[in-house]
């Protein structure tokens, strides 16, 4: 996905997509980390995002309106290990697409294997590692999907600030998540041969497939945390379910881009989540950081179902492993 973004920058008529995060909610001590919309988070759980929809003006030249609709299914194999599948359907409005009359289809399929390395309830800290794969040629040719697979080893973390001193009690609802990945294409170059239908001339395009550093995260302020762990102000219940959030998802070219005019691209996404017992909803703005990332502010929204809470004894529990460890009474 990210390499495709770089190619969009390079060749203009190619396509670019807003990366959609593979997020899952996570509970670490007092802290509830919600599923994020754009930047992958450390959560490992049984969940279903149905759907995540985004509408924005992409980075193509000329820029066109793009609608992405993604479904994300996360399934725990063990309590600490999950597999995530995320198909995304894209529609490019006119004058997008190879013929300028729009295009639709699935992007290359993205999968993630994620493992929780460390969890510290006292300090509301969690670390996970994962391998994200975007599989070659699994999407629509009309979207000019990558013809190579991209593997991205990724590190995720989450940290809540509930351990701050009393003097800054108001800051305890803050939490951050972070994601750092290194995207490695399965082929270092892509060679495309084109035959002119009129003249029969053959042209060969040989372009490198750059490697990228993917980085981002979120800053969140949890009103549920404020009510249940810091100070219950007696606010209306609706406000006690809100988590204002700012996400960021960026990609920086690292290697194999000699001769290419590549820059860091990405989006900043301010918005708000509403979290309930069984689901959450979220909406965020999509603010491109430069022209190579898009041309105007878009929007992304998500309905996210907590399968572990909806179906705790069937599809919402790990495939392997015994019952959840009981609490130890004091």
């Amino acid at each position: 996905m990210l390499t495709r973004l770089a190619r969009a920058v390079l060749f203009g008529p190619a396509l670019a997509f807003v990366p959609l995060g593979a997020g899952a909610h996570e509970i670490v001590g007092n802290r509830f980390f919600p599923a994020t919309l754009v930047a992958d988070d450390p959560g490992i759980n049984d969940e279903l995002s149905l759907p995540t929809a985004s509408l924005f003006k992409n980075s193509d030249i000329p820029s066109v309106n793009e609608l992405d609709i993604a479904v994300e299914f996360s399934k725990r194999i063990t309590d600490d290990f999950a597999l995530i599948v995320q198909p995304t359907w894209t529609h490019l409005y006119v004058p997008g697409g190879p013929l300028g009359n729009g295009a639709s289809g699935f992007q290359n399929l993205e999968t993630t294997a994620k493992y929780r390395l460390y969890k510290n309830p006292e300090h509301e800290f969690v670390v996970s590692v994962g391998l994200v794969a975007e599989w070659a040629n699994t999407g629509a040719k009309s979207l000019s999907v990558d013809t190579f697979t991209t593997y991205t080893p990724t590190l995720y973390f989450g940290k809540g600030f509930g351990d701050l001193p009393d003097a800054v009690w108001w800051a305890r609802p803050f939490a951050v998540t972070g994601v750092f990945g290194y995207a490695i294409p399965s082929r270092s170059r892509t060679i495309t041969t084109t035959v002119d239908p009129d003249s029969g001339d053959v042209s060969v395009d040989d372009s490198p497939n750059p490697r990228f550093f993917n980085w981002g995260g979120s800053l969140q302020y949890s009103m549920p945390y404020m009510k249940t762990a810091v100070n219950d102000f007696g606010l209306p219940d609706f406000f006690n379910h809100l988590i204002p959030i700012v996400e960021a998802s960026l990609q920086t070219p690292v290697s194999n881009f000699a001769g290419l005019d590549l820059k860091t691209t990405g989006t900043i996404n301010p918005g708000v989540l509403w979290v309930g017992d069984y689901f959450q909803v979220g909406v965020e703005a999509i603010v491109p950081v430069n022209r190579q990332s898009g041309t105007s502010v878009g929007v992304i929204a998500q309905l996210h179902l907590y399968l572990d809470d909806l179906f705790p004894t069937t599809i919402g529990k790990p495939i392997f492993g015994g019952p959840v460890t009981p609490a130890k009474p004091f």
Partner: protein, 116 residues
């Protein structure tokens, strides 16, 4: 499109028909989280979002020096009651750890103040 609508509708109906059992999260407490009461309460009461397993759910209250000032906890449905000794003015921390009836474990803590 019709098939997608049918599948989505089926899922929503399925979700609505199955008795769910989410994590038991603290909903509210008395004394209220982070608030001050004029005099010592006889107990701290915690309301959770799900029913609790009494055998694996408990809580205790400690004073500013970490000494336990609670006398035991009892559970009834979604409510936990933690008895406390007569509390002099000061700040107290409630530590809770519970198991919901669907085996999800959660824990947390908060403070309240007496007479300050």
């Amino acid at each position: 499109m019709k098939n997608k609508t049918i599948i989505l509708s089926a899922f929503v109906l399925l979700a609505a028909s199955i008795p769910a059992g989410a994590h038991a999260m603290l909903d509210h407490a008395d004394p209220r989280v982070g608030n001050t009461v004029k005099s010592s309460p006889s107990a701290v009461t915690l309301w959770f979002t799900q029913k609790l397993e009494p055998a694996f759910s408990s809580a205790q209250v400690t004073n500013a020096s970490g000494a336990v000032v609670s006398t035991g906890a009892s559970v009834s449905g979604t409510v936990m009651r933690v008895g406390v000794r007569s509390l002099p003015p000061g700040t107290y921390r409630v530590h809770w750890k519970v198991l919901s009836v669907d085996t999800h474990t959660t824990e947390g803590n908060f403070t309240f103040r007496v007479g300050q």
